[in-house]
Amino acid sequence: MNITAFIIVSVIKTALALFVLLTAVAYTVWLERKVVGHMQNRWGPTRVGPFGLLQPLADGVKFLFKEDLTPPHVYKPLYIAAPMIAVVFALTSIAVVPVGNWVTIGGLHIPLQITDVNIGLLIILGVTSLGVYGVALAGWSSNSKYSLLGGLRASAQMVSYEISLGLSLVGVLMLAGSLSLRDIVNAQSGVFWGFIPRWNIFYRGQFIAFFIYLMSAYAETNRIPFDLPEAETELVAGYHTEYSALKFAMFFMAEYANMITVAAVASLLFLGGWHGPVFGPPLLRAILPVFWFALRIFGFLFVYIWVRGTLPRFRYDQLMAFGWKFLLPLAIANLVITAFVVAVFS
Amino acid sequence: MVPISYYLILSGILFACGVTGFLIKRNIISIFMSIELMLNGVNLSFVAFAAQWHALSGQVFVFFVMVVAAAEAAVGLAIIISVYRTRETLNVDRVDLLKL
């Protein structure tokens, strides 16, 4: 594929990915409100559009028209930059996530992924590490007690759980033998024992790693049961207390985009990526893997929202103790056992 | 084709900036950051030489330098926090006597 075709295709893929991601963020908000509402025995949004489906649109318009005030005591450059940093890093990791097999459009063989780097997993971990800056800088630049404490707590929590996140993924890495996300998914094709699909969550017992990943993901994205840094009753609103309108919307977007990225990575690494029954004409063959992938992400997000509606939140010292004293030894034990199994059975 | 001397000059400039910052800054945290800058400059020259002479041990050594820098940053910042607790200042010009 020559260079101009490559650039055009990449630009189209990037634009499409961003568009889909942003729409997905908006509709994740809708999904959350509906599901949490039904769990609490009430309807979610129902007025705006059928089933409240246009609610995110109304929310977006509301955020755009809200007064965008800047309190006088903030440290202006970082105050304005912090939400942008958070959003940029939240949206960047979608670049290495593959959503389907290779497709052939008009004679061009195109992978459904913006770039296929052979250190894809490390890039996702790196972007997660950099996402801490948005939170920390927002808390500090707002120059108020609640924000500073909320920002410090949130960033300490995110940094602590990054370790368990990374270690839980190393087990999967050892099974697949490559850091490229596409290779990891391809290693999960086929079935074993006749009918159970060879997903990493079943095959060779990575369910512990999946559990660790799930917990670390909840803590990384600051969701219940680990959302003390942004709980309204504890710290006013934590690190985004002093933000309003568009900047607050950017933090909101960053949080949900992070959730979707984490769900996508979990689907790729533990739930088998895009493997599923594929049949029919070539167009359907190209679309169906994407559909299975979206189905997995949807399931993961549903579990996320389900947990949000069900569990109470951890106190901060319980949260840190859980991360360092329970999850980290468990992740290391999982690593050791998986290494042993891989060394013995291959 | 980038000549190796470009990378080396960049590394030298980074190192020189680090040393300059170390000398002229008065805030102890800024001094510490200049040290990190020096370490980064050295890392760059390691990787450049590893690429030139096709010796991967250059990159492995960079890995070790990073680990040591991380350990040193952790301990150094802990020391800075202790010093701040007793002296109430971050200015190195004020921490020049052993007596409080």
Partner: protein, 158 residues
């Protein structure tokens, strides 16, 4: 390079920390150009993502303000900057004269994680183990140094 000079120029340490992050990000890109992809990823994850976050934490905790200009700093500025300029010009001149290095194509040496892992655990095993002990000692030292001097004894288990 702009980030490095900015680090010197900024008076407030938080701006300095952020420009150092920019320096590290651009260094990661340079490593990628030289083909050292694992080192680039580790640079982002460890250096820019953890060590600099630690720096930002400490700056936030200690509420570091802007720098002051005292007598000592003026002296250092007066002697330090020209001295370093002289030193770096000297180094640069030596490098350019005696360089003879030749050109390096982009992505010259593929530093795949597998190969580096192999080296780490075979040829460099002893340094690897020693550095892990070093990090352990550093962790213990940091915890002891940064803990409060009197409230550390009777902590309840959470």
């Amino acid at each position: 390079m702009a980030g490095a000079v900015n680090l010197l120029a900024q008076r407030h340490p938080i701006n300095g920390a952020l420009s150092l992050v920019v320096v590290m990000g651009s260094l990661a890109v340079e490593y990628l150009l030289l083909g050292a992809e694992f080192v680039a990823a580790v640079q982002v994850i460890v250096y820019a993502g953890a060590i600099m976050v630690l720096f930002v934490f400490v700056i936030m905790l200690l509420n570091a303000g802007e720098e002051e200009r005292t007598k000592g700093s003026r002296v250092a500025l007066l002697f330090g900057v020209p001295g370093m300029l002289l030193g770096s010009i000297l180094i640069g001149w030596v490098l350019l004269e005696r360089g003879g290095g030749g050109a390096v194509p982009a992505g010259a040496l593929p530093g795949a994680p597998k190969v580096i892992g192999w080296l780490l655990f075979h040829d460099f095993l002893l340094p690897f183990e020693v550095t892990s002990i070093l990090v352990l000692i550093a962790i213990m030292g940091a915890v002891v140094l940064a803990s409060h001097p009197d409230s550390d004894q009777g902590k309840k288990e959470g």
